[in-house]
Every structure is written in structure tokens, then in C-alpha cells.
Symmetry: C2
């Protein structure tokens, strides 16, 4: 498939998802008023809709033929994702998200907490339509998001955070939802465990790569992030390049990196990047990304060739170009 | 049934629910660690377990014969109730709940938000096992909790809050979950709509009465509340006795009441109660409570006599003695 063709199909999927989300918020706003419109303003502020698109593609790859059957699950994962963003932004005291003011900065914390709850409820309302084992995958994934956020909070500004700590947080918080969405989609398509397991593993590997890319972009800067460069560093979040550099650097360089990270200011950016280059930490993260993406692709082998599979492979290839 | 017998049976039900919740938290703590233990500490800090008990009784009243079938729903409503308490306590900046330090005051707001989310997820994980229409009742109820909390926030310190505003908040936030739990239980028992509707109405009426009793106790003080007397007044929450007095009192008395409420201090309590008595607002609330409880009882008529029905009537009668 040509790149342009793939991009066009994915874009069409995104537009359809956007339209369904718009209709959902419009209908819910009639019933629930302000909480629905405010929550909706974040939900509808854009975003790549990567999670729901992957749910749809996973379903099609597994031979599912009625997209309407899996669509509520796809939307559920986007709603839950947005719910976690709203609550995260409170905890991170972030002022902007997707280039818009965050709910708590605009409406106050109380409304932001409740708006996040409302989005969770909508997600679970949609996901709760499926049979017990699909619901279990979803609720287990959400519970792990919470436990890994605890883990992450416990390591804020902790310069001794290990790569294992990092991976546990990333697997729970970022990769878990990718994995659960893909796994649930295969279950909805009625396919056996070896296929849903393969898709779960695919989602997990892709999700880890996704987070590593995000970590790099936070350091290098990216206009499409919708939040300021260095947000993670300012918040004391221990991303892999930092953990790697803290492990490898010696004596004064290690001490200086610790100093910089403990009270980060934008004017330290050049120095930070120099230190990270000295320990080859950015290249290390780049290699890891490729490894995870390669492993992700290998899990797709159990599925027959299809347009959906080509599109999923295309998503993988675009991730390494980000 | 003798009072002592009824109390003994209800107490036994409470103990069984407590045990199941303890097992749940113990098992989940092995998987999810700190977020489960911290959330569990609030969940297991006591409480009357009125919501799950009513779910079980409603199921039995509707002829349900396998309590295991409805137990996940009963626990789900207790988990969701506790989730809303954790998030409410952040928004109300409450230091204690059930006579224990609240999560946010002990562990910080970030962990409290996530702990509440985790409890929501556990509740939905259990409730999501049921068929679509039961899930809809539950998710609709939770979405209404959120919208009525928005409504309530918009009326904090608003001395012109109407009884209609009050009722909308109470129906969504307090009575709605009673109603949805009872309604869902009848659905799980496989009974027709006239019975699930009747039980929904019963729960709604009982829930409104429950909140009115709570409003009175907040003003009069009650050692069993687990939170300080006058919490609502301090937080600027417009409870019915206050709304009624603000409507009925004239000139200086009305002005003085407004003054007191706008910057409430504990030393104003005697004066507040005197003003509320002058407008007969406490008696008015007491009469409303009896009316709602009477209406609640009338909805039970469609159900055959049973021990469960006697116990439900007993709960109604105890509520008016609180």
C-alpha cells in the first residue's frame, strides 16, 4: 500500500471516530448538561485517535466483519484515555493539553475531578456492553493504570529510579491500554486465545515504543505535542533517557545531571542534552524503540495478510519516524 | 418481626458484605499494591453498608433465589459510593471521613484522585458482568452523580438556591444510587419492568429522605456521622432547611441568616438553629422526611410479603428514627 493511501484510510477512520464522539457528546449534553459539555471539550479537542483506530484494525485483522460490533469498545478506550488525561493534568498541574487550557486551570479542580469521573463512566458504560472476559480485560487495564500512576508518583524526583521501575510504569500506564484495546478487539471478533494474546503482546510492545518516543520528544521538543517542551523533566518524571544517563555518567557529570534535574529550568536544556549525548542515552532510547517495534511486528505473524494488517504495520512504521 | 431479630439479620448481612470486601481488597492488593491498600483502607473503615444491603433485599423481594448472582452488583454500588466519597472529600477539603484521616489529607491529592479512580474501576469491573440494560442503569446513575455534583458546585454559597435545585442535586447524587441499586437488583432477578420501576421509585424516595435526615443531622450534630457538625454549612452547601429558612424569613432575620451562612463560624450554631426554628424549617424538613418515607413504602405494594420486604420496611422505619 502506498503511504498516501494508508494515510487517507487512517484519516477517514479518525474522522468517523471524531463524528461518533461528537454525536455522543451532543446527546449526553442534553441529559447531563455542563459536565458533558466541559468533558466533551477535551474529548473533542483533537488527538490522533490512535487507540480507537488500533481497536478497529485489530478487530478487522482478526476477521471481524461488523465494525459496529466493536465500535463501542473503540470509543470506550478513547473516553477512558481522555479521563486519565484530565486527572493526570490536575496531578501534574498542567495548564495546557492539546494546545487548549486544561479543565482544572479553567474551571477549577473540583469540576476537573468530576469531569474525569464522568468520562470514565461513559467509557465503562460503553465497554460494559461486552461479555465478562472483555470487561475484565478493560477493568484490569484501568486498575493497572492507577497502580502504575502510584508507582510513578513514588518515583517523582527519585534519581535512583531503575529501568525496571520505568518499564513497570510505562507498561501499566501507556502500553497497557494499547494492549487491552487490541486484545479486547480480538475477543469481540470471537477469535481464540492465541490470537488475542498475540494482539495483546503487539499492543504492549507498540505502547512501550510509543512512550519512549514521547520521552524523546519531551526532551528534543515537538510542536505537535500540545504541551510545552520538557514537561516531564519539570515535573520530575524519570523518563528512560534520564534514567540511563544517571546510571552511566560518572563523578562530576553525574552530579551535575542530578543537580540540573532536581531543580530544572529551561535554560538548562542545552546542557541537559549535552550530558545525555555524552552517555549516548538518546541513541540508546532510539535503539530500544526500534527493538520494541520490531518485536511488535513479529506478533502480527499469526494473523493472515489483510488491508487492516498492512495499516497496522504502517502505524508501526510511522511511529519510528515521529 | 421483632426489632432485635431484624437488627440481627441486617447486622449479619453487613458482616458478610464486610468480609467479601476484605477478601476483595486482600486479593487486589496482591496485584495492584499500594493503590489497592490505600483505597481499601477507606472502603473497610466501616460504614453501614446500607446500599449493598438494599441491593440484596431488593433482589430477594423480587424473588431472586441465588444471592451470589446479585452480590457483585451489591459490592459494585458500595465501591462506587466509596469512590465518590474519596473524590468528594478532596473537593470539600474534608480532613476526616468515618472518623479517619481522608486519603488526600494523608497521602496528597494526586494519590487521592487515583485511589478514587481505582475504586470506580473496581465497581465497574464488578457491575460490568451484567447484561447491557443493568450496566446502563449503573452507568447512567454514575453519570448523573457527576452532573448533579456540577449543579451543586454551581450553587455553593448561592443564597438563592431553590428547592428544585436542591432536589435535583439530591436525586442525582444521593438518591440516584439507591434507586439504581434497587432497580438493577430486580432486573438481575429477572422481573418485569413494573417491578424494577417500582423498586427504582422506592429507592429514589428513600434516598431523598436519607439525604434530608443527613442535612438535619449536620445541623443538629450527631456523633455517628464521622465528620464534624456543620460540615455542610461550613462548605456553603445549601441544604433544604437553609433554603427553606432563606425563603420564609423576612427583613432583618433573612439578612442575618444570609450573613451567618456567608461566613459561618461554629459560634453561630445557636443563632442559626434559633433562626431555623423561627421559620419552622427543621420541622418542615422532618415532615418532608416522613412524606418521602411514606411514599417509598407505597411502592413496595407490588411485591409479595416476604422476610426481605419486612426488612426493607424496617430500614425505612429506622431511617425516620435517626
Amino acid at each position: 500500500m502506498e503511504e498516501n493511501e494508508a494515510l487517507a484510510i487512517l484519516d477517514q477512520m479518525r474522522i468517523e471516530i471524531d463524528e461518533l464522539l461528537e454525536v455522543l457528546i451532543e446527546e449526553k449534553s442534553k441529559i447531563f448538561g455542563e459536565v458533558a459539555t466541559i468533558s466533551g471539550s477535551v474529548l473533542l479537542a483533537g488527538g490522533k485517535r490512535l487507540r480507537p483506530i488500533m481497536v478497529l484494525l485489530a478487530y478487522e485483522m482478526a476477521g471481524g466483519e461488523n465494525l459496529e460490533e466493536v465500535m463501542p469498545l473503540a470509543l470506550a478506550f478513547e473516553l477512558i484515555h481522555t479521563a486519565t488525561l484530565v486527572h493526570d493534568d490536575i496531578n501534574d498541574q498542567a495548564d495546557t493539553r492539546r494546545n487548549k487550557a486544561t479543565i482544572h486551570s479553567q474551571e477549577g479542580e473540583a469540576k476537573a475531578i468530576i469531569a474525569g469521573d464522568w468520562l470514565f463512566v461513559q467509557g465503562f458504560g460503553l465497554g460494559g456492553r461486552y461479555r465478562g472476559e472483555v470487561v475484565d480485560v478493560m477493568s484490569n487495564c484501568c486498575a493497572k493504570i492507577a497502580s502504575s500512576e502510584f508507582h510513578q508518583l513514588n518515583h517523582v524526583m527519585d534519581l535512583t529510579t531503575s529501568p525496571e521501575d520505568y518499564l513497570e510504569v510505562v507498561k501499566g500506564k501507556t502500553a497497557g491500554p494499547f494492549s487491552a484495546g487490541c486484545e479486547g478487539a480480538v475477543m469481540v471478533a470471537g477469535k481464540p486465545k492465541n490470537q488475542s494474546d498475540a494482539m495483546a503482546n503487539f499492543g504492549m510492545e507498540l505502547g512501550v515504543a510509543f512512550q519512549l518516543v514521547d520521552d524523546l520528544l519531551d526532551i528534543k521538543g515537538d510542536d505537535n505535542m500540545g504541551k510545552p517542551r520538557g514537561s516531564d523533566v519539570h515535573e520530575g518524571k524519570m523518563t528512560l533517557p534520564l534514567i540511563h544517563a544517571l546510571t552511566l555518567l560518572h563523578s562530576e557529570e553525574r552530579a551535575r545531571l542530578g543537580e540540573i534535574l532536581s531543580d530544572f529550568k529551561d535554560e538548562y536544556f542545552d546542557e541537559l542534552i549535552e550530558l545525555l549525548q555524552r552517555s549516548d542515552s538518546l541513541s540508546y532510547a532510539e535503539i530500544l524503540i526500534e527493538n520494541h517495534l520490531e518485536r511488535a511486528l513479529s506478533y502480527l505473524d499469526v494473523f493472515e495478510d489483510s488491508q487492516a494488517k498492512e495499516l497496522m504495520r504502517f502505524i508501526v512504521s510511522k511511529l519510528s519516524d515521529r
